[in-house]
């Protein structure tokens, strides 16, 4: 397997996977925040909010990620010229590409986080919500103090799946100028031609990233789930 050694020596594979991790972490935080808001909208007693939440989830979830990222980059950044970094910056294009990719990834995965959380809400017996309301808690209070803490604990396993999917979906960002793992893979294929070694390096890289995440979330879901 000398070929793998050559690739690792010649190219900065670690830095490329570093960018993959960077994209994953920031998009995950964004998706978790937006997804939580969406989930609250979807279980709220206000009809308009429920419809809005459902509309967002159904639209975004059924749009290809490629389309969303190209729209963020070409449409919003290049044509509407909304910058997330001042135009005077020497890394103007690079930083905008990364930030808009994070926005796109977060917006897309928020739909999945929302549905995962909603499934978590469904694990909380209806009696708990009724009891919370009957002792005088408002909708907000009962959500914050009673429903959501249990919903998050019940939704850990599906949230882990979303995170793993997100890690792998960051590869789509290579088409909007983010130099993460799959962009480096394209460079290597261009220079060295495609081969088993290239495939193995990147396949193993992603397994190293996602397998521990999966194991961690499985353990967490077992330990943190509300025993009923």
């Amino acid at each position: 397997m000398g070929e793998i050694g050559d690739i690792l020596a010649k190219y900065d594979v670690l830095a490329a996977f570093g960018m993959t991790v960077y994209l994953t972490v920031f998009s995950a935080v964004g998706a978790l925040l937006l997804g939580t808001v969406l989930a609250i909208m979807r279980v709220s007693p206000v009809g308009v909010l429920r419809s809005l939440g459902a509309f967002y989830v159904n639209t975004v979830r059924n749009t290809p990620l490629t389309l969303i990222l190209v729209f963020c980059s070409l449409g919003v950044f290049f044509i509407l010229q909304l910058n997330l970094e001042p135009a005077s910056s020497p890394t103007f294009l690079r930083d905008n590409a990364i930030r808009w990719a994070i926005v796109g990834l977060a917006a897309y995965h928020a739909a999945f986080v929302c549905e995962a959380l909603r499934s978590g809400v469904n694990t909380v017996p209806a009696g708990q919500a009724e009891a919370a309301r009957s002792i005088g808690l408002t909708f907000g209070q009962s959500l914050r103090e009673v429903i959501l803490p249990q919903a998050f604990r019940g939704a850990i396993a599906p949230l882990g799946s979303v995170l793993i999917a997100l890690t792998k979906n960051t590869t789509v960002a290579s088409i909007v100028s983010v130099s993460e793992a799959s962009a480096l893979m394209k460079v290597i294929i261009e220079n060295e031609t495609a081969g088993t070694a290239v495939f193995l390096v990147f396949a193993i890289g992603f397994v190293v990233l996602t397998l521990p995440v999966g194991m961690l979330f499985t353990t967490l879901s077992r330990r943190l789930a509300v025993k009923r």
Partner: protein, 283 residues
Amino acid sequence: MTTRRWGALAATAAVALGLAACGSDAGNTGSGGDGGDSGGGSGLKVGIKFDQPGMGLKKGTEYSGMDVDVATYIAKELGTEAGDIQWVQAPSAQRETLISTGQVDIVVATYSITDARKEKVSFAGPYFVAGQDLLVRADDSSVTGPDALDGKKLCSVTGSTSAQNVKEDVPGVQLQEFATYSECLPALANGGVDALTTDDTILAGYASQEEYKGKFKVVGQPFSEERYGVGLKKGDTALCEKVNAAITKMVTDGAWQKAIDDNLGPAGYKPGAGNPPTPDACS
């Protein structure tokens, strides 16, 4: 927010949708090629680009471009009529795999001959010598060559040799890399990037597209040499000799010049030094 911007935005949405369509298209083509194969036809399977105007372009069921004309000529010399050729999409990253697994017989897809590639496949030709160049807005005279790119914004395709070359030679350049050159064009037209770089043949093809006519110009200072070859299964010298003979014949009987005039002429493109090339010896 001006109306023009919304118009441009709508155009982008159309580009993006087109991309999605391309994606599904590629899948269909793969299976379609396999289906044709089991039919037992004697047709030659030729890998070309489907998305490069002027070189290899699929529009509906029609194929056009310099690569298509060269491949058709070679196929005729090998005994396959134009109607019997099976066209297979050969994106850059898949060319070696398509050849080594036998999904195509020859690849004529802006395929530069390099030493790294020679380890996986064999090349006949070259049938054309292109060079890396820059495409800029027609009214922009500030970009005159690669040296003028310092501090400018340049667009190319993720991982392409062209992008890597410029990154090495002009570290001060800001690089935007899309999946295909088609996405660079709206950004260039809009002023989001200052130049687009790749082989001059491909640039000429884009410049002569109907919707961009008169908007862009090719700078005309090639700064690399790309020798386009015909990719074949490694070690198939017999086929290589035949293809080389076909290329030589194409140059001498004038069909080569006609293919260039037909496909790249509208952009005012003139082949650079080294054309027409003499095919290398087969090995």
